[in-house]
Structures are given as structure tokens and as C-alpha cells.
Amino acid sequence: MIWLILIGLAAGVLGGLLGVGGGVLFVPGLVIVVGLTQHEAEATSLLAIVPVALVGALRQSRYGNVRHADALLVGLLSVAGVAGGVVLANALSGKALRTGFAALMLLIAAQLVRKALREGRKDVNPDEPGSR
């Protein structure tokens, strides 16, 4: 139980700090530290993302950074894609899914490196992070 709380805290701090989203941290934490299967970790991560995104969206909304109608359309019209993605995930083996997820992690690592290099020596970043 303590591991779960630590994963949540660590993922939250890193997410808030670097602007990467919960899922890319929850999933490997749940697989490597807690020992869930890739399928269980992805499913559990999705539920864990809901409160994080909700609080983040409420804060951003206060700053005037949310276009509500667009967010609602993207969110509600995602249903078909979501169903397809989950069905596809469950049709794949754990190994195939893990390999795909590892590729996603490498991509996000590359993005972080690129962003860090682009920002150069600028240490103060005013952007509110949290959605990626």
C-alpha cells in the first residue's frame, strides 16, 4: 500500500514539475514496483488519471486556459476511439503491449530532452504544466 502512495506522490510531483501526464508514470510504476500485469496497470492508471486531470482542469479553468465547449466535444467524441483502443489493447499480448508502451516512453523522453535543450538556460518557466 505504501508503494502505491509513493508512486502517486512521485508521479504527481514529476508531472507538475515537468508537464508530463500521470499515465506515462503510473503505468511503469504499477508494473515494475507493484507487479501488476501491463493490462491491469494500464486500466488502473486510467482510473487514477481522472482525479488528477479533474483538479488540473479546474485550476486551469480558473486561469482562463480552458475552452470548455471544445474540451467537451473532444472528450465526448472520444468514445468510439476509446472503445477501439481498449478492445485493441485487450486483444494484444502483455508482451506486445509492454513493447509498445516502452516505445511511447522513449518518445516522451526524447521530447523532454528536446524541450530542455530548446529552453536553453532559461530556468523559470511560467507555463502551467500537467496535461502531458
Partner: protein, 122 residues
């Protein structure tokens, strides 16, 4: 029936792509939504981030519900991870103004690469 505007079609395409990505990988989908809002709809980065977060509330909830039908969701684990994460995000955002984000980004990229290798070796 009214023909949907080009803008509505773009939003629908973004929702569908993000939904697929989210359902497949168990992530929110911001990696897909933010750049598409910027490139297709001319959003500023910060608005794209905020709007993406609000859309993700729905996307992740839908995807968790469908995964729940497969019996894959560990509800208690999700709450034990998700609720402390909310506090973590608030602290991380506060910390952002006070530490060298650039060095941390590079360090964390290394952690991601190491974790990816670990997943591949599982």
C-alpha cells in the same frame, strides 16, 4: 440534418485519435491532444494544455469504464495512486518556479529510458 463544421470535424478527429491512444496505452492522451490543438486549431500552448486536461477527464473515465468491463481495473490501487498524485502535482507546480527544471528534465528522461528498458526485459 446540419452538416458539421470543419472545426467540429477536427475536434472529433482529435477526440477519436486521443481516445484510441488513451485506450491502447492507459494514458490520458495529452501527448496527442496538445500538439493537434496547436497545429490544427491555432491554440496557444497554455490553452491547449488546459483544454486537454478537461477533455482527459472524460477520456480517462470512459476508458477506465471499458477496461472495467474486462475486469482489469484495480479500483483501490487506482485511488491509492491517484489521490496522492493530486497533492504531488500541486507541489510539483509550486516547485517548478524554484528548481532547475532543465537539469531535472534530462535526469527524468534518463529514468524513462531506464524504465523502458526494464519493461522490455520483464
Amino acid at each position: 440534418m446540419r452538416i458539421p463544421s470543419e472545426r467540429a470535424l477536427k475536434l472529433m478527429a482529435i477526440g477519436t485519435a486521443a481516445g484510441l491512444f488513451s485506450g491502447l496505452f492507459g494514458v490520458g492522451g495529452g501527448t496527442v491532444i496538445v500538439p493537434l490543438l496547436v497545429v490544427w486549431l491555432g491554440y496557444a500552448e497554455r490553452e491547449a494544455t488546459g483544454t486537454s486536461l478537461a477533455a482527459i477527464v472524460f477520456i480517462a473515465a470512459f476508458a477506465a469504464a471499458v477496461q472495467g468491463a474486462y475486469g482489469n481495473v484495480h479500483v483501490l490501487d487506482a485511488l491509492l495512486v491517484g489521490i496522492p498524485a493530486v497533492g504531488g502535482v500541486l507541489f510539483g507546480t509550486w516547485l517548478q518556479q524554484r528548481v532547475h527544471v532543465r537539469a531535472l528534465s534530462l535526469l527524468f528522461a534518463a529514468v524513462l529510458v531506464a524504465s523502458a528498458v526494464e519493461l522490455l526485459l520483464e
